[in-house]
């Protein structure tokens, strides 16, 4: 199956990743369109996070090509790489906030490193970003260890958005959030996509998110993309795992 798409912001071609003797990704192809929200699903342990980490460059691949913003990260020099890294934001599964910095400093960190702006603007931007992810300014001076799980997710998103990136990777953003919080989160991602023209690559298990937030869904299985398309395509698919996933008890509850 090939998915040639014009104007792809991420282009993954024939990528294989191996840990020891287990092949996690096996000749995987994937395109992400500019401006879309791509939901990425698959069974636990199928390698969703591995693919995300491979695209970001944290996991080495044994073969294949990955282009982000049209730049091949393997052949890019350090300056080009930094340029790309400035244009994406990443929300890690556990938040990965810097534990010795306050919330404010966590959000300001990438801004401070890349832009030479005044402390006043840094403070204002931190509060603005906190507001955007639905947190009150009082949180700004707390340390990550003093936050709840949902708050950590939100602060991590605020940090990922600190530099107003064009592309955001979200690794299970709504896991561990209450349903209302998760719904708000989906709404937030939608709003940000609309206002900032964001492209979102979202690894998720949350059917609600897939249903309400995602433009397109890609399914990972056996180290390959087994299906990609709209929610309607997914529901129409005859693939056994897809049927179980999109027609299971939980799915029926979501779709009414």
């Amino acid at each position: 199956m090939t998915f040639e798409i014009q104007n792809a912001i991420i282009r993954v071609r024939d990528v294989s990743v191996q840990f020891g003797s287990t092949k996690v990704l096996d000749g995987l192809d994937l395109d992400v369109k500019r401006g879309e929200i791509l939901g990425f699903v698959g069974p636990s342990g199928a390698g969703k996070s591995v693919l995300t980490r491979t695209i970001i460059g944290l996991v080495p691949k044994i073969s294949g090509r990955i282009e982000v913003f049209g730049i091949d990260l393997d052949s890019a020099d350090a300056a080009a790489r930094r340029g790309v890294e400035r244009r994406w934001g990443i929300l890690f599964q556990q938040g990965a906030l810097f534990s010795s910095l306050t919330v404010r400093q966590n959000i300001q960190f990438p801004v401070r490193e890349y832009l030479n702006v005044s402390q006043r603007l840094l403070d204002e931007i931190a509060v603005a970003k906190l507001g955007m992810v639905g947190l009150r300014p009082e949180v700004a001076d707390r340390f990550p260890s003093e936050l709840s799980g949902g708050m950590i997710k939100r602060v991590a998103l605020a940090r990922a958005l600190a530099l107003d990136p064009e592309l955001v990777f979200l690794d299970e953003p709504t896991s561990g959030l209450d349903p209302i919080g998760a719904g708000d989160f989906d709404e937030l991602v939608r709003t940000l996509q609309r206002t900032l023209g964001l492209t979102v690559f979202m690894v998720t298990h949350d059917l609600d998110s897939l249903y309400t937030a995602c433009d397109r869904i890609a399914v990972l299985g056996n180290g390959k993309i087994i299906a990609a398309g709209s929610m309607a395509d997914m529901q129409a698919s005859q693939h056994p795992w897809l049927r179980a996933y999109f027609h299971g008890k939980r799915a029926r509850a979501v779709m009414g």
Binding site: F98, S99, S100, V111, L115, N116, V117, S118, R120, L121, D123, E124, I125, A126, V127, A128, K129, G131, M132, P137, A140, F143, P144, S145, E146, L161, L163, D164, T191, R194, T195, L196, G197
Partner: protein, 378 residues
């Protein structure tokens, strides 16, 4: 419109003023944008009403939207009627978003004052008291746990103890032997070098024997163990504390002292005498080699002199100290480990203070022992 850099043009319009923003108002240009906005804020009071026209903005993100909003706010505060016009539908929700931002609370910075310094001194003194109480508390908890284990030997964690024994004893042997060997060599060489002036070369054996068996052997090894194993204990327990593993253990009905700390303490108390013994032998061996090749004291003469110079008392004095020092190192390391808070910085601080306090208490204990053995005539 030039798409290279953002601009803010001023156009007079009737008795008001229009500020025409153009170009990309994005994070990339944030430093420039901030300057532009700072300049424009000085317009306060010059005109009764000001329009901020953003219809020519090619790209807007949070930075741009906020700076425009900030400009509007400061103009309004200055008594100017300021309005944002020409907002496209795409960007209006973004501007609405930043409009909700409240004025930022100022960061409270603490200044250095005399009362502040006195306050610090006071807190440190209280901190020292709390440290000692904490150590005694842990000693009591460990003793109580060992009491429980003696009554119910089945709850003793042999596997864990053996594992830690391997880590702190077996794996420490090479480095401990190497360092004490070198120290033995150095003591011997220095002794011979200086004693030769008085023709008292042979007395280097006395010095080496007494020094190594009574003091250096055990003290040096204890310091190495504090640096090597004490720090490891603190880091292990600290990261377990950070990840709530210790809480998980407690909720399952296990006593963290019994499961985590007792095996570690026991391993250390067994390991240190063994390491001290090996270290003493290595130091004597090194000293003997140097005495032979550098000082011309052949091994037979060295052994004969050593037998005369030292008695079993010297060895006993040294080795009795070892388990006590091990207990001190272990308790300090465990107390520090359990005191770790949520951050990586805190883990680093407590690991450092585990080693520093461990070494400090080892040396204090050595002094106490010196007084004790002197008064009982050993």
């Amino acid at each position: 419109m030039v798409s290279g850099a953002p601009t803010l043009e001023r156009i007079a319009r009737g008795n008001g003023l229009a500020l025409c923003a153009a170009g990309p108002w994005t994070a990339r240009f944030a430093p420039l944008l901030e300057q532009i906005v700072d300049d424009a804020e000085k317009l306060t009071g010059s005109r009764p009403n000001i329009f901020i026209d953003v219809s020519q903005v090619s790209k807007l993100d949070t930075f741009g939207a906020w700076l425009i909003e900030r400009l509007r706010r400061s103009l309004t505060e200055g008594g100017v009627e300021a309005k944002i016009a020409g907002l496209s539908a795409d960007y209006s929700s973004l501007v609405d978003e930043v409009r909700r931002v409240k004025a930022t609370p100022a960061l409270d910075t603490t200044s250095v004052t005399i009362t502040g310094m006195l306050d610090q001194v006071g807190r440190s003194m209280v901190g020292i008291g709390a440290t000692i109480v904490g150590l005694i508390d842990m000693l009591g908890a460990v003793l109580a746990a060992s009491g429980r284990v003696m009554i119910h030997p089945r709850s003793f964690r042999l596997t864990s103890t053996v594992h830690h024994l391997e880590q702190v004893c077996w794996r420490a042997v090479p480095i401990v032997v190497l360092i004490t060997f070198l120290i033995g060599c150095i003591i011997s060489q220095q002794g011979i070098f200086h004693f030769r002036k008085f023709g008292a070369d042979i007395f280097v054996v006395d010095m080496l024997g007494v020094l190594v068996l009574r003091e250096i052997g055990v003290l040096l090894v204890a310091i190495m163990v504090a640096g090597r194993s004490g720090s490891a204990y603190t880091a292990e327990l600290g990261s377990m504390k950070m990840r709530e593993e210790i809480d998980a253990l407690r909720t399952m009905g296990f006593d963290p002292i019994e499961v985590l700390i007792l095996p570690r303490m026991l391993a250390l108390v067994i390991a240190l005498p063994i390491l001290a013994f090996l270290g003493a032998i290595a130091a004597l061996y090194g000293g003997g080699l140097v005495a032979w090749f550098y000082g011309g004291v052949d091994p037979d003469a060295f052994l004969l002199r050593l037998r005369d110079a030292i008695s079993i008392d010297h060895f006993t004095v040294g080795i009795i100290k070892a388990p006590v020092m091990a207990a001190v190192i272990g308790i300090v390391a465990c107390v520090e480990g359990l005191a770790v808070q949520g951050s990586a910085e805190s883990l680093g601080q407590h690991t450092t203070s585990s080693v520093v306090k461990g070494i400090f208490f080892v040396i204090v204990m050595d002094g106490v022992f010196a007084i004790f053995f002197a008064s009982i005539g050993m």
